[in-house]
């Protein structure tokens, strides 16, 4: 059962514009949601997280929004930069159980 879904396998945006990556989940017991970034031949690296009791968390150019009623979260990157080009994974966690989405490949064009 796929409890975390990223329905867009890829996204392409122009440098300087906003990138919006989306993620849906099914299990209301998750208590934290995280975004990881992954470059080729490397492991995922942590980007930003949000508690299930919050609806927004911001860190520099990155903002994560959580809509609990819709079981949906999104990552906004503003402004997008070519160095942001990578695969982004959404993850949801409850203690030891961390479930990942399949990832969205973001390409930021100069």
């Amino acid at each position: 059962d796929q409890q975390v879904k990223q329905n867009s396998p890829s996204l392409s945006v122009q440098e300087g514009r906003i990138s919006i990556l989306n993620c849906d989940y099914t299990n209301s017991m998750f208590d934290y949601f995280l975004w990881y970034k992954k470059y080729p031949a490397e492991g995922p690296t942590f980007l930003i997280s949000i508690s299930s009791i919050k609806d927004k968390n911001e860190d520099g150019r990155f903002t994560v929004f959580l809509n609990k009623s819709a079981k949906h979260l999104s990552l906004h990157i503003v402004p997008s930069q070519p160095g942001d080009s990578a695969v982004y994974f959404c993850a949801a966690t409850r203690v030891f159980d961390m479930r990942f989405g399949a990832g969205t490949r973001l390409t930021v064009k100069p």
Binding site: V4, Y32, S51, V95, M98, F100
Partner: protein, 114 residues
């Protein structure tokens, strides 16, 4: 401070062979994890450990074994390799379990079983 290191980076196995994927972390983290990532899929938890001598199954443990004799090392053992175990394997560690604390990932081991 090397973080999480994994060896080997690549390996090709024949069906029925066995091997051990090595994982070491130097951050003194109690929690360690093994994940696999199949093409086009997210990472799935195979096993995790909450400290030396304590391990437990994750979402997809069949065909694998683990041990944790020290805080630093968490090897993953494949006893009878099968084509379904062709995947990229990631080891991770964290200071605490769950919550906002990130897991730190190694660079991965790409395993092909033919």
């Amino acid at each position: 401070n090397a973080g999480v290191t994994q060896t080997p980076k690549f390996r090709i196995l024949k069906i029925g062979q066995s091997m051990t994927l090595q994982c070491t972390q130097d951050m003194n983290h109690n929690y360690m994890y093994w994940y696999r990532q199949d093409p086009g899929m997210g990472l799935k938890l195979i096993y995790y450990s909450v400290g030396a001598g304590i391990t437990d199954k994750g979402e997809v443990p069949n065909g694998y074994n683990v041990s944790r004799s020290t805080t630093e090392d968490f090897p993953l053992r494949l006893e009878l390799a099968a084509p379904s175990q062709t995947s990229v394997y990631f080891c991770a560690s964290s200071y605490r379990a769950g919550g906002p604390d990130t897991q730190y990932f190694g660079p991965g081991t790409r395993l092909t079983v033919l």
